[in-house]
Symmetry: C2
Subunit: 342 residues, 2 copies
């Protein structure tokens, strides 16, 4: 089957670009120094490729991602990097981890999340620390006290995490480095009070600022990068040496006057970072099942396939059922996006 | 099960509000004068409620929606209001329609879409006419010629459609009425050249401008409204007498300093119309699995449920697997969102 025969809209992966991205990152952050975030692709087949390259610790955003990874037999050390109060779902995480002999660590940032983890039979927790992005995460000054609460409840506290999400897109690398260093000073201070072997943080946008061998290492044990695997138009703007490996492929279904219409719309795209890109075309607007666009440089024929580059990868992939893996224009594999929903 | 026991994030429907919306519209546009658009909810159980009120003609946006409706036995006259070149999918539409004795009409706007329909065994087509929104749809002046092409290929041409999507959100009703009238004059002119019994158009935002009994009727036979069923924050701003029946329910999972975090994020919401609303709270930002917010008027406790009103209903619902139907705080039913994907 060639790329022109895939029913559209379809999430299509350039296998060669994917492989290069995976190898580039594995070289920069080998083995356990990378804790790939599966939320970026929600695909156990892709996570297995990351494990093949030596990454056996993973980050997950939902209980379903953790349970799915365990069921697929990918990863030996899984961090649920989210505040979860749903005891039923956490119980499924604990049971799956116990039966598979996998470490499932759960982030906690309150006595309530600690209680939920303990009731669910979770054994390991990590203190989620606020390092400047206003989301989950306890203030650094309270981290030690929270670790104490967790230990009193019989839980193992294996360290801290603190996602500097607000610094992922700082394009001036000197400024980024300074601000990441300041954020990591907060995380290390919390870690001094918490203890444990893990100091986990980071994302694709800051992965190079935590690298082992830097003049001023940030003291982080592992980086939770996910988007490097596929890259979107936003991450591409950072020029970090990764390629856009995923496009949403659409069919040109209409051509009237100077406009074209493709069958990729809001239901096939994550739109929170704005409109997608189609080559050097002008994207007019997206609606539920369409994107209208035009081009000054070329013409399209009806039925032709177009590659659409989403602005934000994670919520885009979560809209699709499978990844079509393509090599030299031929479909070589299909991977279910099996970790969707909650 | 009460609403506080639903695992979150969840798409929750207020059954009473839904019923009132359905009845309000059925009174305004009874029976076949409404051709409800299933793309707004993608749920055959909900479509069955619309059919119970007398609407047996439906509008669909994808082949999967048409086939799913036929398999569920809902509707007797289905319009695929989209330009489709995928002969395999159209063949499944034709086969399902033939075996169930349902009329499946397919919109066409080019000789290529006509050819695809004919090759697939589709019998009825409708000429999709551009009435001012730059998407699919042939220029009115070419509509008659296209109908002739279709008839030469042995297809029945049952009329025209022309969606005035660009006029759905014109809040000044006098201006809206004038512009809709102008758009419908274009559609009627095309219909004069095309023939056939159907002149289909419209949406929730303009449904009241096509009503039978108006001083200046637009000559439309049926209105393709969908969003009236649930309404989103955008449609609510038109004050058309429909209620927001759907909310995405989340759990408050974190509270630090003056901010709260809920477990409803980009992967549970359609974001193209902007951030969702949470009561009178200030929504700070949405990320993949979270929304951070604050309130000057009240406090929340961890574990508490919050109702989040999405800005755009259609791409929001397409992110969920089921609708939880709630009456007086109790879950009375669960409806699969079974028409998702393509």
């Amino acid at each position: 089957m060639n790329i022109g025969e895939i029913p559209t809209p379809a999430a299509v992966v350039d296998a060669a670009a994917l492989t290069r991205n995976l190898h580039t990152m594995a070289q920069r952050l080998p083995g356990l120094s990378l804790r790939p975030h599966v939320k970026a692709h929600k695909c156990t087949a892709l996570a297995a490729r990351q494990a093949d390259l030596g990454h056996h610790a993973f980050t997950c955003a939902t209980p379903r991602e953790v349970v799915g990874m365990i069921e697929a037999g990918v990863g030996t050390d899984l961090l649920l990097a989210n505040a979860v109060l749903d005891v039923d779902r956490l119980t499924r995480v604990a049971q799956a981890a116990n039966s598979a002999d996998v470490i499932a660590r759960v982030a906690v940032d309150s006595s309530e999340t600690i209680e939920a983890a303990q009731r669910a039979g979770i054994r390991d927790v990590i203190i989620d620390v606020d390092v400047g992005m206003p989301r989950c995460g306890v203030a650094p000054v309270h981290a030690g006290q929270l670790a104490e609460t967790a230990r009193q409840r019989g839980l193992t506290v294996s360290g801290v995490m603190g996602y500097e999400g607000h610094l992922q897109m700082v394009s001036d690398r000197k400024e980024a480095q300074e601000r990441v260093a300041a954020a990591m000073a907060m995380l290390r201070a919390a870690h001094d009070d918490v203890g444990g072997e893990i100091v986990s943080t980071g994302g694709t946008g800051t992965h190079d600022l935590h690298q082992i061998g830097l003049e001023h290492p940030t003291g982080v044990t592992d980086v939770q990068a996910g988007s490097y695997v596929m890259v979107d138009t936003q991450y591409a703007s950072l020029h970090q040496g990764f390629e856009q490996a995923l496009t949403i492929v659409g069919t040109v279904i209409a051509h009237h006057e100077n406009r074209y219409v493709t069958d990729v719309g809001l239901k096939a795209l994550g739109m929170d970072h704005g409109d997608p890109l189609i080559g050097d075309c002008k994207v007019w607007f997206c609606s539920d099942e369409h994107t209208t666009f035009s081009s000054h440089t070329r013409t399209f024929t009806l039925g032709e396939r177009v590659h659409i580059r989403p602005a934000h990868i994670d919520p885009t992939i979560a809209r699709h059922e499978e990844l079509w893996i393509v090599e030299d224009g031929e479909v070589v594999d299909r991977w279910p996006i099996d970790l969707r929903h909650w």
